[in-house]
C-alpha cells in the first residue's frame, strides 16, 4: 500500500504529503518536544543495541580467539612442563652427576647425583647460580682433596681456565680417596653440560693393578738382573747405590745387601781404587769426573784389571733419572783365551812362512824343471828334425839306387817310418809350445771352406786306403779363429777318427748354433767308454790299438789344448761299439760384419790411433810382450814395457810421465797382481784408460774386473779389440 490514498484528490494528496514531510523533517531534526523522550530513548537504545550486538560479536570472536590461544598456551605450557618433567626424570636416571649451565653460565638444573660426594656443595647450588660461584663452592668444599701446595683460590682459577676450553675432561680427587671424572660438553646454544662420573673404583683398581705390576716388574727385573752374566749396579741421581745383582757381589765383593744400599759411588770407588788397574787411556779420576757430572753423561767403556788377575770390561751409561748404571763383565777367560790364540797364531804364521818359503823353492825348481823340459823338447825336436830330414834325403837317394823290389820295399818302409817320426816330432813341438803357453794365436776371420776343402783332398785317399767312406760337407760360414790351429784341430780329429774306425765311414759337418759354428766329426768306430772319455785327451794315451797303425797319441792332446787356448769348447759323445762324435764350437763372423770390420780396420789402421800415444805395457811373459810391442808399435804408438808391477811403478816414478793407456797382465808373477797395480797407478795418476789381459777366464776374475770397472781382454789377445781400445783412447 502506498503512503498516498489514490482515492484522494490531488490537492488532498499534496496536503497530506506536505504534512508527512513536515513530520519526518521534525523527526530528523529532533525538534519534537519533551514528550518524545521515551521514543528517543528507545531509538537510541535500539541503535546502541545494534552497535553493542556488533561489538559483542566482535568481542566474542576475540574472546574465542583468546580462549583458543589460551588453550594453545596451556597446551604448550603443559608440553613444556611435561618436557621438563621428562628431562628431570631423564637426567635423574643418569648414573653420573649432571648439571646444565646456560649460555650465560648460569645454572639451569642438576640431578641429585651432582656433587653428591662434595656433601657441603649441593645445598649451595641453586637455579641461576653463576658458574664461577659453583667453582668457588667446590674449591672451598671440605670434601675436595686439593693437591699439595694448591689453595682453593688457585684450584678454582685453574678450574675456571679449563672451563674456557672447548672440551674438558679431568679427574678430581676427593677426600677418603674418592675420585670424580669431570667432563664438560658444550651444547648447541652455547650452554655447558657438566658430567661427574664416579671413577673411584676404576682408579683404585688401576692403582692396585699398577702396584701389582710394579711389584711383579721389580721381581722380574731383579730376576733378570740376577740372571745376567754381568755385574750390574745402579746409582741414583745422588750417586748412591740403589740396586745391583748377585753377580755384582761376587765381582766387587760388596758388603751385604742391606748395608751396601745407599753407599755412595765415590766411597765405593775409593775403597776399590787401590785394587784396580785401569786400561790405557782411562783412570779413576776420569771415572770420578764422569760420575760427578750431574747430567748429560755420555756412555763410557773401559777395562780394568783387578788384583792383576781379573779382567773386567766396564760399561757406564746414564739413566733417565740422571742416575747411572754400571755393568761389569768378567772378561778374564776371554782375555786369556785371546792371548793363547794370539800365541798359537804367531806360531802358525811362522810355520806358514816357513812352508811358503819351502814351497816357493819347490815351485821355482818345478818351473825351472818344466822350462828346461820344454826347452829340451823344443831343442831336441828341432835338433832331431835336422838329422831326420837328412836321413829322409839319404833314404830317398838310397831308394833311387836300389833295384830289387824287396830292397825297395824295405826302403819305402824306412822312409814311411821316418815320415812318422817327423810327424811325431812336429806334434811334440806343437804340444810343447801349447804347454809352455808360448803359442801365439793369430785369430782372424777364416772361411770354413778354406779349411775343409784341402783336408778332404788330403785325407780322402787315407780313408780310401782303409776302405772307409770319408765325407766332408762344405760350409759357407766364416768363423773367427786361428787358421793354422783350426786346421790342425780338424785334421787331428779326422785322422783320429779314421785311425779308430775299421769299417763304415767318417763324416765331417758344420752346423750353425746361434752365433757359433759347431764343427762335428762323426765316425762309426769302436767308440769310447764313458770312463775312458777323460783320458783320451791326455798325451800318449791310446786305446786298444796296435802301434803299427797308431801315432804317438798326441793328436787329441793337441786338439784339447788348442781348443782350450782358442776358447773353442770341445765335446765328446760316444757309444762303445757304435761310434763317436767329437765337436767344438767356433764363433761365427757374419759375412757383412767381416766386410764392415774390414772397412773399419782399414780406416782405423790408417788414422784412428793417435800418433805418439804412450802405452804402458806390463807383461811378464817376454814373448807375448814382444809380440804385443811389435803389434802396438806397428800402429805408431810408443810402448813403455815393464815385466812386473814393482818395475812399472818404479819406471813411472822415474820418467814422471802419465801414459795415455795401460795394458796390464793380470798375473804378474810373485808381486802385485794387475788389479793391485792398477789401483796403485790410479792412486798416483788418476783414472787412466786400461785393459787387463789374462788367459784366466774364470768367473772370479770377471767379477773382480767388474767390481773395479775394468774391461778384460782374454788371451789370446784379440788384435782388433786392442786396436779399438787404443783408437778410443787417442780420440
Amino acid at each position: 500500500m502506498s503512503l498516498i490514498n489514490p482515492s484522494d484528490t490531488i490537492e488532498r494528496q499534496n496536503a497530506k504529503l506536505l504534512q508527512i514531510a513536515q513530520a519526518l523533517m521534525r523527526k530528523v531534526e529532533q525538534k519534537n518536544d519533551q514528550s518524545g523522550i521515551s521514543y528517543a530513548q528507545f531509538e537510541r537504545a535500539a541503535l546502541l543495541e545494534v552497535q553493542v550486538r556488533e561489538r559483542t560479536i566482535d568481542l566474542e570472536r576475540t574472546l574465542d580467539l583468546l580462549q583458543e590461544s589460551n588453550a594453545q598456551l596451556e597446551a604448550a605450557n603443559r608440553e613444556t612442563a611435561t618436557a621438563q618433567d621428562n628431562l628431570s626424570e631423564a637426567i635423574e636416571t643418569i648414573n653420573e652427576g649432571f648439571a646444565l649451565f646456560d649460555k650465560d653460565d648460569r645454572l639451569v638444573l642438576t640431578n641429585s647425583r651432582f656433587c653428591r660426594y662434595l656433601r657441603d656443595v649441593p645445598d649451595k647450588l641453586h637455579e641461576g647460580m653463576p658458574f664461577e660461584d659453583y667453582v668457588t663452592a667446590v674449591s672451598q668444599s671440605r670434601y675436595l682433596a686439593l693437591p699439595h701446595g694448591v689453595t682453593p683460590k688457585s684450584w678454582s682459577d685453574i678450574r675456571y681456565d679449563r672451563h674456557r676450553e672447548d672440551y674438558v675432561v679431568f679427574n678430581v680427587s676427593l677426600s677418603q680417596d674418592r675420585w670424580l671424572q669431570v667432563s664438560e660438553h658444550r651444547t648447541a646454544n652455547g650452554g655447558t653440560v657438566i658430567l661427574q662420573t664416579d671413577v673411584t673404583e676404576i682408579i683404585r683398581l688401576e692403582r692396585q693393578e699398577r702396584d701389582r705390576m710394579r711389584d711383579q716388574q721389580a721381581q722380574i727385573l731383579q730376576a733378570t738382573l740376577d740372571h745376567l752374566d754381568q755385574g750390574v749396579c745402579i746409582f741414583n741421581h745422588e750417586r748412591n747405590l740403589v740396586g745391583w745383582n748377585k753377580r755384582m757381589d761376587r765381582l766387587l765383593e760388596l758388603p751385604p745387601q742391606h748395608s751396601a744400599k745407599g753407599l755412595s759411588f765415590l766411597a765405593l770407588l775409593d775403597g776399590l781404587e787401590s785394587e784396580l788397574d785401569f786400561s790405557v787411556g782411562f783412570d779413576a779420576e776420569m771415572l770420578r769426573r764422569w760420575a760427578n757430572q750431574g747430567a748429560g753423561r755420555s756412555p763410557i767403556n773401559f777395562e780394568v784389571t783387578r788384583s792383576g788377575n781379573r779382567f773386567l770390561s766396564v760399561f757406564g751409561q746414564e739413566m733417565p733419572d740422571r742416575g747411572f748404571v754400571i755393568s761389569f763383565t768378567d772378561v778374564t777367560a776371554e782375555r786369556e783365551s785371546a792371548r793363547a790364540l794370539a800365541d798359537m797364531n804367531e806360531r802358525l804364521e811362522r810355520r806358514v812362512q816357513y812352508r811358503t818359503q819351502e814351497l816357493g823353492i819347490a815351485l821355482s825348481e818345478a818351473r825351472r824343471a818344466n822350462a828346461s823340459k820344454s826347452r829340451f823338447v823344443a831343442a831336441a825336436s828341432h835338433d832331431l828334425l835336422q838329422p831326420l830330414s837328412a836321413a829322409k834325403l839319404f833314404v830317398s837317394s838310397l831308394a833311387e839306387q836300389l833295384d830289387g823290389p824287396d830292397l825297395r820295399q824295405i826302403v819305402d818302409k824306412a822312409e814311411s817310418a821316418l815320415s812318422s817320426v817327423e810327424d811325431i816330432i812336429e806334434a811334440l813341438l806343437d804340444i810343447s809350445k801349447l804347454d809352455a803357453n808360448h803359442a801365439v794365436f793369430d785369430v782372424k776371420p777364416v772361411r770354413m771352406s778354406a779349411i775343409l776343402r784341402p783336408l778332404r783332398d788330403e785325407l780322402t785317399p787315407v780313408a780310401l786306403s782303409k776302405g772307409l767312406d770319408l765325407r766332408i760337407r762344405d760350409c759357407p760360414l766364416t768363423v773367427h779363429s786361428d787358421p793354422g790351429f783350426l786346421r790342425r784341430i780338424v785334421q787331428n780329429l779326422v785322422t783320429n777318427a779314421i785311425r779308430y774306425t775299421d769299417s763304415g765311414g767318417v763324416l765331417v759337418g758344420v752346423r750353425r748354433i746361434g752365433d757359433r759354428a759347431r764343427v762335428e766329426v762323426w765316425d762309426t768306430g769302436c767308440g769310447i767308454a764313458a770312463a775312458d772319455q777323460e783320458i783320451v785327451f791326455q798325451e800318449f794315451k791310446r786305446l786298444g790299438k796296435t802301434t803299427s797303425q797308431a801315432g804317438l797319441g798326441l793328436g787329441l792332446a793337441i786338439v784339447e789344448r788348442a781348443c782350450k787356448s782358442l776358447d773353442h769348447p770341445l765335446r765328446l759323445r760316444s757309444e762303445p761299439g757304435k761310434g763317436s762324435c767329437f765337436s767344438f764350437d767356433v764363433p761365427i763372423r757374419q759375412a757383412h760384419e767381416v766386410a764392415s770390420k774390414a772397412a773399419g780396420r782399414a780406416a782405423a789402421d790408417g788414422t784412428a790411433i793417435k800418433k805418439g800415444l804412450v802405452v804402458l805395457l806390463v807383461e811378464n811373459d817376454p814373448q807375448l810382450a814382444n809380440a804385443l810391442i811389435m803389434m802396438i808399435e806397428s800402429w805408431e804408438a810408443h810402448v813403455i814395457h815393464a815385466a812386473n808391477g814393482e818395475d812399472a811403478l818404479q819406471l813411472l816414478s822415474d820418467i814422471q810421465l802419465t801414459p795415455d793407456a795401460l795394458v796390464l797382465d793380470y798375473q804378474l808373477g810373485q808381486g802385485l797382481s794387475g788389479i793391485e797395480l792398477l789401483h796403485r797407478i790410479r792412486g798416483d795418476l788418476g783414472n787412466v784408460p786400461v785393459r787387463l789381459i789374462s788367459a784366466d777366464r774364470g768367473a772370479d776374475l770377471r767379477q773382480a774386473c767388474n767390481d773395479a770397472g775394468i774391461t778384460l781382454l782374454t788371451k789370446p789377445i784379440d788384435r782388433e779389440k786392442l786396436h779399438r781400445f787404443l783408437a778410443d783412447v787417442g780420440r
Binding site: 504534512q19 528507545f42 545494534v50
Partner: protein, 387 residues
C-alpha cells in the same frame, strides 16, 4: 540434586515449578507444597488477572516468609502444559544454586534514573563479591504494563547491569488493559517495577524470539502524543483509518486480532523492533504498547509460522545441551496470533516440551530495549554443556 516433578526422561530440573488454580481454597499453600521442597533463594509468582492479587500476595508473604517473593499480574500464564489461564504459577529458585537481590522500583514517572543506577550497580557488586562461585547470572524485570515507562526504564537500568543480561516482561491485565500490578515481598504497586538480579552456578542464556518479517508497506506518523503512546494521525489521516487502509482492513473492525496479525515495526539499520498496537481509542487513534513519536516510520510486518519458528529457536537454545528450565515472558499478541492461526495447542505443546514457564505480557524487555510481539526469557542449563 533433587529431581523436579515428572523429571523422568527430561533434563534434571534447575527450578522448582508449581501451579495452582487461583480459585483453589489455599492456592499459595498448595503452591508452597509444590515448590518449597528445599531452601529457596527466590520465589516468582505469575498471578492471573482474575485472581485477587492483594490477597494472594498477602498469603505468599506469609507462606514464603524470609524468602524474596517477586510477583506480577499477567495477561495469561505459561504453566506446565503451555498457555494457561486463571492460574497462579510459582517458580522457586533453589538456594543451593541461586542467589538473588530484588529491588522494588517505585514511582516510575518520577524515578531519578541516577539514584536507581547507583542502587543497581552497588547491589550487583555486593552480590558478586559475596558469591564468587556464582559466575553466571541474569537480571529479571517485571514492570507495570500500563506505566508507559518501560522504554525509559530499561534504557536507564541496562547500563548499570554491566555484563548481566537483562530480560523481563510487562505485567498484564488479561485483555482488559485496566490495572497491572507488581509486587515485592508483600508490597503491591502499580507504576512500579521489580528488578531481580540472579547469580547462579548454572550456565544461563538470555534470549529474545521475534518471528516477524518486515514488508514493503510503510507509513509515517504525522501526529502523536508520545507521553500517552497515542498515534493520532498517520500519513496525515486519522491513525486507525489510515492503518486499516494500509493493511487492507475495515477501519470499523480493527481489533486485537488485526493488530496481532498485522504488527508494525520500526527499523534501524538491519534490525527491526515491534511497536505493538494496544487498541483503538474512541477518537479513532491508535494506542501503542511502547514508545512512539511523530515522524516515526512504521513498517508493516508479516508473522512467520509462529510454531515452527518457536520450535526452531528453542531447538537452537538446546544446541550444546538442553536447558533444564526456561523462564519466558511471552507477548499477549503472540497468544492472540496463535489463537487466530489455530496454533495455540501446538505452541503449548512446544512450550511444555521445552519446560517453558512464565506469563503472557504487555511488552517484553531485552537488554536496553522495550519491545512487543516477542518472547524473551532465560534458559538455565543444569548440566555442563558438552562443548
Amino acid at each position: 540434586m533433587p529431581l523436579g516433578a515428572g523429571a523422568v526422561g527430561t533434563p534434571v530440573s534447575a527450578l522448582r515449578r508449581g501451579q495452582v488454580a487461583h480459585t483453589a481454597e489455599n492456592p499459595i499453600e498448595d503452591l508452597k507444597a509444590q515448590i518449597a521442597t528445599e531452601p529457596l533463594a527466590l520465589v516468582a509468582l505469575f498471578v492471573s488477572a482474575e485472581a485477587d492479587f492483594d490477597k494472594t500476595i498477602a498469603e505468599a508473604q506469609e507462606q514464603f516468609a524470609g524468602t524474596d517473593v517477586v510477583a506480577c499480574t499477567t495477561a495469561g500464564e505459561i504453566g506446565m502444559s503451555g498457555y494457561e489461564n486463571g492460574l497462579i504459577v510459582g517458580i522457586g529458585f533453589p538456594a543451593a544454586h541461586f542467589v538473588s537481590t530484588s529491588i522494588l522500583i517505585e514511582d516510575l514517572k518520577n524515578e531519578s534514573s541516577q539514584v536507581l543506577v547507583d542502587r543497581i550497580a552497588l547491589s550487583q557488586v555486593a552480590m558478586r563479591d559475596a558469591n564468587p562461585r556464582m559466575q553466571q547470572g541474569f537480571a529479571f524485570l517485571v514492570v507495570d504494563g500500563l506505566s508507559l515507562r518501560e522504554d525509559t526504564l530499561t534504557a536507564a537500568i541496562a547500563p548499570a547491569l554491566r555484563d548481566l543480561p537483562l530480560f523481563g516482561g510487562s505485567a498484564g491485565d488479561g485483555t482488559t488493559f485496566e490495572r497491572t500490578l507488581v509486587s515485592l515481598n508483600g508490597r503491591v504497586r502499580n507504576d512500579a517495577a521489580v528488578l531481580t538480579l540472579v547469580l547462579t552456578d548454572y550456565r544461563t542464556r538470555v534470549f529474545s524470539i521475534d518471528h516477524l518479517v518486515p514488508t514493503d508497506a510503510q507509513m509515517v506518523v504525522t501526529e502523536a502524543d508520545p507521553a500517552r503512546r497515542i498515534v493520532k494521525s498517520i500519513n496525515a489521516e486519522p491513525a486507525a483509518r489510515e492503518y486499516a487502509r494500509i493493511v487492507g482492513k475495515d477501519p470499523e473492525q480493527l481489533d486485537q486480532f488485526t493488530f496481532a496479525s498485522h504488527p508494525v515495526v520500526v527499523r534501524f539499520g538491519g534490525t527491526h523492533h515491534v511497536r505493538a498496537i494496544q487498541q483503538v481509542n474512541d477518537n479513532g487513534e491508535l494506542v501503542f504498547f511502547s514508545a512512539i513519536d511523530e515522524g516515526m516510520v512504521l513498517t508493516v510486518a508479516r508473522p512467520d509460522n509462529m510454531a515452527a519458528h518457536l520450535e526452531r529457536k528453542l531447538q537452537d537454545l538446546g544446541r550444546g545441551g538442553r536447558p533444564a528450565d526456561i523462564l519466558g515472558c511471552d507477548c499477549i499478541l503472540r497468544r492472540i496470533e496463535a489463537e487466530q492461526t489455530q496454533l495455540t495447542h501446538r505452541i503449548s505443546q512446544i512450550l511444555r516440551d521445552h519446560r517453558v514457564t512464565g506469563f503472557s505480557t504487555y511488552g517484553e524487555q531485552i537488554g536496553t530495549l522495550h519491545v512487543n510481539h516477542t518472547m524473551t526469557g532465560v534458559a538455565i542449563y543444569a548440566d555442563e554443556p558438552e562443548d
